[in-house]
Assembly symmetry: C2
Amino acid sequence: MTPGSPPKISFKTQMLLAREDAIITVVNRLLAEKGFEAMTVDEVAAQVGIAKASLYKHFPSKEDLAAAAMVRVMRKAQDFLKGLAPDGAPMQKLRAVVRWTMELKLAGGMPSLPSQNSSLRATLIANKDYMNGLIEVSDALGAWIEAAQEDGSLNPKLPAIAVLYTLYARACDPVLEFLKMGDQYDDARIVDLVMATCFEGLNAR
Amino acid sequence: MTPGSPPKISFKTQMLLAREDAIITVVNRLLAEKGFEAMTVDEVAAQVGIAKASLYKHFPSKEDLAAAAMVRVMRKAQDFLKGLAPDGAPMQKLRAVVRWTMELKLAGGMPSLPSQNSSLRATLIANKDYMNGLIEVSDALGAWIEAAQEDGSLNPKLPAIAVLYTLYARACDPVLEFLKMGDQYDDARIVDLVMATCFEGLNAR
DNA sequence: GTCTATAGACCGATAGAC
DNA sequence: GTCTATCGGTCTATAGAC
């Protein structure tokens, strides 16, 4: 830190950000392992090691806690997308994203939110960071989907939106948990199996 | 009801069963439209038109209410399985079951339970009727899966258990809701789309 | 000395149970 | 219709940084 360079970020602010990061990490783990409803704010505070009131200094509601976790995941997804070889085949990129998503879920890093909770939905939709991330990811995937349909690697008869949803749905696919629970296959094999059913389908070829 | 035939079921018992049936119908609908956590027993009692205390005469807990709804769905599934032409191609039977399941979900008749709630899981596992139904259905589907793999219509490289889970997962596939929310396709088209991605996969053929 | 963040008690509402 | 537990959210006294 040379004199004249702009530190700009006070020690206090750094602490604040670091704590927010710690909070989100805990929330992310709890959301992944027990879901939104079963996660209590007290639990989050206890695991972070701070008082509940302090939590509310950072995040105004439980829903915002969950939204923050989703924003982080979305950021990680965007980073992953950017890290893909830009000139790779679109189909390979789609496959890579789905694989990454399922590996994250199997590793316990994918928050699982109830799709039916309306107050949570409202908070997410109102969250600019989340929505921007979602749109950006969807745009990228959408472009690859169309490209893959044009180059003949992805079924052109399927509407792009249906393909997009099918890919997103891998992030909460219960087949992953079921197979993991069976304890018969390791994570890599489980991912391979679901990749196969997703892209090649159940029919024999 | 001719004299001499065994009525055996008293009027009182009939009323009891009829009310249980009404309760389960309400529970089934509420579970389908808002899920287990969001469904309150007050709501169930109100919609059935009975006192909350009366509910507990029939079912000892909220979990048991949900279990009863699942038992009914399982029964309906078994009836559907039995109604399929016994000499039909196994693959066609599997497709028919998946289609039936998704149509039921789209029609708002499929209870959606959180797969993470452990007390609910315990209640379901302890429920003999549910478990028997589940096992019977799984056995039937498992036999068809293996037969379809042998006759070359279903990918023989996939473990039967993975196929079974993949079929079951169509009962809670969020893609159905997403597409329905988009309001761009009618139910029949949505089912066709998900049938296609499920059996033919996303890859071009 | 002032001011902010924290800890931990506290409140009100909701919902399951009886 | 009551009871009680739980949980999201708030309030207040205090400790510590500046």
